[in-house]
């Protein structure tokens, strides 16, 4: 499935019923140098727009919201040692977590890449 995007600057990629979630290139550029990522625990149940993770730059902490309802099945442990991966490869190696989806139809509420690029353009 092609990536989907939220207005909170997360990307979501669904494969075999598991969604991989990270923050967009636009988001990492706005945040600047990322020095710490606090990831949720595996098994944590997420509610759409609820707190999912925290990303910290040198200057400030920012919340990352769950783009969809579901449950965490895996987190990117590489970010513990190398949070700068989020700056270097936000939409590939810098992924945050993987989750099951309670309701795949929620994906329809998210933007495709073209719509997200237009959205960012307008900010």
């Amino acid at each position: 499935m092609a990536k989907k995007f939220s207005q909170e600057h997360e990307w979501i990629e669904l494969e075999d019923g598991i969604a991989t979630v990270g923050i967009t290139d636009y988001a990492q550029q706005s945040l600047g140098d990322i020095v710490y990522v606090e990831l949720p625990e595996v098994g944590k149940k997420l509610t759409k727009d609820g707190d999912a993770a925290v990303v910290e730059s040198v200057k400030a902490a920012s919340d990352v919201y769950a783009p969809l309802d579901g449950e965490i099945v895996e987190v990117n442990e590489d970010l513990d040692d190398n949070p700068a991966l989020v700056n270097e490869a936000p939409e590939t190696d810098g992924w945050f977590f993987r989750m099951t989806l309670t309701d795949e139809s929620q994906l329809d509420e998210l933007m495709d890449e073209a719509a997200y690029n237009d959205f960012v353009e307008g900010l």
Binding site: Y36, E56, V58
Partner: protein, 370 residues
């Protein structure tokens, strides 16, 4: 209330910041560069490795003249200004009648005058305070026609000496009026990064010219307020409004060193009764360095707990130190927990996380003392 929307002030270097691609943010009423395309972390590390140029023109510059300038200023600050020789600079604080800190400042004996540098956010209040409390025989002049920039880092002296050889011999906390690249400047060998370097007061209409000359040197990068903050935090230096303010005294703020023997013996400054009593008998709280054990930064207002889970203080500045390569913080704790080595917990996002009280600074000072 639309007319209360603040129109941000611009420093003489504003156009240059924009040209350099800085991200501009409101700070103390000014539109200031928080970072350049290099980014906060690289700017921080560059300053520690080579030299960084900071625009600090938002800070206030004040000249005091008149025969009573020293004695009258000593009524408002606990520092020994009389002992300050011409060409020497001292860090001090304005204190209130309650002994709390109204601002911190640099005071230079410029020979025929005292030259003060005060914080941007406090400068209007400071000037009102001085005008109201400085007695006869002192004239206060706000210097609004000069910008202020800081060149900081181990290569700062080499770079600046190319434009003014005499700066090489200037010692830490010393001042000279001299031409840099033909531009008349007030130079102090000082700064707020923990590194060797200079603060340079330059006429507004020559500021951009000087900044461009310095930035053209290989070692120099433009550095924003973001890195200025992480550099000063690693250096254990107070940010007024966070780490010291009008509820904390110099003793609570661990600034006893700014009050020398004569001022301790004689008093005669605002709040002296409170401050001298705390010097004698101790204060209930103290500013300390705090090193979180994990990787999560603990930001300002984070609660500090003892091993019984009781709140014993609060973080006043906290973040990530790029040179330390980890989280660092400063804050106040009850005096019985202030000893380095004391284990505490920090409440970050509802979780108690282990940390330790440590000596400041986090990054060693590298001042040039000659």
């Amino acid at each position: 209330m639309a007319d209360q929307e603040t129109v941000l002030l611009k420093t003489a270097l504003h156009d240059l910041h924009v040209e350099l691609g800085a991200k501009m943010v409101p700070f103390a009423g000014y539109d200031m560069p928080v970072q350049y395309p290099l980014g906060v972390k690289a700017e921080h590390l560059h300053t520690r490795a080579k030299a960084g140029l900071f625009d600090v023109s938002h800070m206030g510059q004040v000249r005091l003249t008149g025969e009573n300038r020293v004695a009258e200023l000593e009524k408002l600050v606990p520092g020994d200004i009389a002992i300050l020789k011409p060409g020497r600079t001292r860090y001090s604080t304005f204190t209130s009648d309650d002994g709390t800190i109204l601002d911190d400042l640099m005071i230079t004996n410029a020979g025929e005058s005292l030259f003060l540098v005060i914080n941007a956010a406090c400068k209007d209040d400071d000037i009102v305070h001085m005008r109201a409390n400085l007695g006869d025989g002192v004239n206060l002049e706000e210097i609004n026609d000069r910008a202020l920039m800081a060149l900081q880092g181990p290569e700062a002296a080499n770079v600046l000496a190319r434009f003014a050889a005499a700066v090489a011999d200037l010692k830490f906390m010393s001042f000279a009026e001299l031409d840099i690249a033909g531009i008349p400047c007030f130079v102090t060998r000082s700064g707020y990064t923990g590194e060797d370097g200079y603060e340079i007061s330059v006429p507004n209409d020559r500021a951009e010219e000087l900044a461009r000359k310095l930035l053209a040197e290989d070692e120099v990068e433009a550095i924003g307020l973001g890195a200025r903050d992480s550099l000063r935090l690693e250096a254990g230096l107070c940010l007024y409004g966070n780490d010291i303010n009008d509820t904390t005294t110099p003793v609570e703020g661990d600034l006893n060193w700014i009050i020398n023997k004569r001022r301790r013996a004689e008093g005669g400054f605002k709040g002296a009764d409170v401050i001298l009593d705390q010097l004698e008998n101790g204060a209930d709280i103290k500013r300390v360095g705090i090193k979180p054990e994990g990787k999560a930064p603990a930001r300002e207002h984070t609660a500090i707990l003892n091993s019984d889970g009781e709140e014993i203080g609060e973080i006043t500045s906290g973040g990530f130190g790029p040179t330390v390569d980890g989280p660092i913080a400063m804050g106040y704790v009850a005096i019985e927990f202030a000893a380095p080595g004391t284990k505490v917990d920090l409440m970050v996002r509802g979780k108690a996380r282990p940390a330790e009280i440590v000596e400041l600074p986090f990054a060693p000072h590298r001042y040039f003392r000659g």
